[in-house]
Amino acid sequence: MGYEPQSDLGTPEVANVNVVRCRIDGRDLTVPEGTSVMRAAALAGGSIPKLCASDNLKQFGSCRMCLVEIDGVRGTPASCTTLVSDGMNVHTQTPLLQKLRRGVMELYISDHPLDCLTCSANNDCELQDTAAQVGLRDVRYGYDGANHLGAPVDSSNPYFDFDPSKCIACSRCVRACDEVQGSFALTIAGRGFGSSVSAGLASEDFLSSECVSCGACVQACPTATLQEKSVKDIGKPERVVVTTCAYCGVGCTFRAEMRGEQLVRMVPWKGGKANRGHSCVKGRFAWGYAHHQERITHPMIRDSIDQPWREVSWEEALIFAASRINSIRETYGRNALGGITSSRCTNEETFLVQKLVRAGFGTNNVDTCARVCHSPTGYGLKTTFGTSAGTQDFDSVEESDVILVIGANPTDGHPVFASRMKRRLRQGAKLIVIDPRRTDLVRSPHITADYHLPLRPGTNVAVLTAMAHVIVTEGLANEDFILARCEWEEYQHWAEFVAHERHSPEHLSAVCGVDPEVIRNAARLYATGGNGAIYYGLGVTEHSQGSSTVMAIANLAMATGNVGRRGVGVNPLRGQNNVQGACDMGSFPHELSGYRHVSDATARALFENAWDVRIDPEPGLRIPNMLDAAVEGTFKMIYIQGEDILQSDPDTQHVAAGLAAMDCVIVHDLFLNETANYAHIFLPGSTFLEKNGTFTNAERRIQRVRKVMEPLNGYEDWQVTQALARAIGLDWDYTHPSEIMEEIAWLTPSFAGVSYERLEADGSLQWPVDAAAPDGTPIMHVDGFVRGKGRFVVTDYVPTDERTGPRFPLLLTTGRILSQYNVGAQTRRTANTVWHPEDVLEIHPMDAENRGLKTGDWVRLASRSGETTLRAQVTDRVAPGVVYTTFHHPVSQANVVTTDYSDWATNCPEYKVTAVQVSASNGLTEWQEDYASRTRTSRRVMHSDSAAELEG
């Protein structure tokens, strides 16, 4: 579609079943009670001039442009702050109003630069539009009086400029920061004529302020005061494509605003049901990697990993790959082959990769990066509830009374949802945080956790069991719910277990390190505080008891009746954009799409008939098992799409050994990632901007990904997988991802009603979409659990085998930071590095002092697995005895240190608990230096036009 700004009805929608009737400019209309006159007029097709109003902000009544006349009402009230009442007769355009509005506009314009023709917002400026709307023809005051025209521009933020000379002090930016983002970073400093927008203290610029660069202020600004640098550089967009972000599992939808083939900006789409018009610094701004100079756009091959890469044609690359695949299958058998699907790729792409492995390679050796993040969610929720998914939609949080966040840091990992959660908390919902670190949610502007349980890493189950003990022994369990909805005998068995004295907070406090009274109070609050909702992340799953913790969470929710309605539930915050989808699509080695075990003959027959192949009824290898088998010599070939296992998976040196032992490693990705150091074939991938498909977010919402520009490599990823399939003899002939979705819907009961037509018509759909729920399922388990009766599972606390001791006395836990994403392949190639140029080690002041360390010092971080060096950051965000780092940068390689301990049920790595020692260091370790050297060697490329020169 062409470029049109998003519509703005001026004030927020009101949810009210009661209605009122009014007349506006002679038109009769009915609106929900509580609707503003401004919104009602807009709904009736009118447009009252406005500057300080926006429909994602509360009414403010400051700009005096939206005045109206109302029969029987004195004066000219502001339409944004005046609510419609029954029988009201409103006039929005009268000679008096025209005169008043022009007068106000004159004042605005008298202190505004008259540089419209050279202004970056020219023809896309609300001030300009409003001046035209009110018929401004002259400014009687002239332009020579006191003004702000000489105010300097703040260009410190890498993505947008702040030009105070163009500011009209409407406060929309300040209010957006407060109400939408919840950062409270901006303010109006000064008074009267001296009022100006300020990012914190007068000495601070935007970059050094508390601003998190979510872009809400830029979106709210009605002038060019806050504007994207890209608009200044490229110009006004000319067309718009709505698509879905490829960063975290929130699944924000954006308007990709284009000029030709050039992306001008990504603007959060108000129609997006996951983000409701909000964004974070990654989705909003960090898309420059799509055109980064390090993008690989030509296929490359090499016979062995010590050789330089050789650029070749697609045909040669595919023939080379097919030859190796066929040869390995003939020599070692089908089970020597395997593949890894990506949570960054679309549903259609992951479906094709697992189909290639099952139908083409003839094995179930397919796994996905969810193995290292949310595989315990799959196991735990399927066991207790019957299906592997969160129970709520994001809107549900608006009806929560108590929010329990465990092992998640949503302000960094899922910032757009965190903003909505914080809004609910500011409205009065209670908050319990269970986390070893004092995350931002524990204490941030206008948010204070009612209870913070700073447990020792690795003791989630102990804390949850202690909470369950309180709920059961104090008679707080909702037995009516349990009797009606759950297996009563299993409940009794569980209740007897948790009620034992050895599970009391007083007893388990010694294990988890949390004050027993705090545990008791938190449990009482969750059980009795109204709608209780649990949100969790990788701090739950990435433990040796990850699956047990998920089940312990489900137990708590069932015991208190907090399942099956709005405001409650169990909500895994998925890490990557399509973790949910990748799992749904049959990416695990034991499951076909829709979470049906490969041993299920009925399900298997469906696929066998559709694909005309035999599906192995036995599970295949998981990623760590593939690597073990490679080291043992029985696993020889892997196709990895959109995943960098060398950087993201634990025990880097073992991963490297496994990859090095394989005869054929195919990496299909955007960049020469760390895994590609061990690859023989590199197939260039396409970004989310260059492809069609769907992503499924953490609330099971299936949303369209739309191609906004042509792929730099010439092909979308599903086309590359199809070409590889055809090269090994399969007869696939999909012409569009919608055809793949048709096949998914045909083979997957929970997707039965999903099609591109439905997605176009509805915007998005939340699975299951089937005959019972043709419009999707926002809230699951409403009338009953998917498995029938909810199942309580006894989850005994079993300490991890990773223990601290004299050699390794500290516990390392890892996580992510707001500005970077996963292994950083995308965000490291954007200006986001200004906020996080390197991984650092957070260490408590006491531990730092004991080691003579201060912030900025190089430190050696060593575990039983290996050692690395990085810089220290001394902070009391971590408890004594605990250190924390991120894994966004390959140079620090946090996973050199992590061990291969993993979840008992799923082998999800225990990233969150590693016994380490920290000591002063002079710089990089020998391993890091060797690795850097090996990487340089591995990344040599003989370009097709310079091969001869390089060879010479």
Binding site: Q545, P619, D628, T899, W904
Partner: protein, 88 residues
């Protein structure tokens, strides 16, 4: 741990057993888990290794999984036999 190969399989089996010990029938629970999530080659490797290093529940579960595999193999052979007969 840094154990790989058979050591890792022994560790995994014991770890599963430790976590399912409170199930009503822990041996069956462990056997079912191994059958559901391990490849036949992994199961076979552990069966060939024997009970050395395995906890009691894990060892019994392994026996149960082995019986399951043997039954499957004989069923498969039976199917193949019937298929051949049918072809004849």
């Amino acid at each position: 741990m840094s154990a790989h190969g058979i050591e890792r399989l022994v560790y995994m089996a014991n770890q599963i057993a430790r976590h399912l010990v409170l199930e009503r029938d822990p041996v069956s629970a462990v056997a079912d888990h191994i059958i559901a999530f391990w490849t036949p080659a992994m199961r076979d490797q552990l069966i060939k290794h024997g009970a050395t290093g395995l906890d009691l529940i894990a060892a019994k579960a392994l026996e149960q999984a082995h019986r399951h595999d043997v039954n499957l193999i004989s069923l498969a052979r039976k199917d193949q036999f019937l298929e051949r007969c049918h072809e004849c």
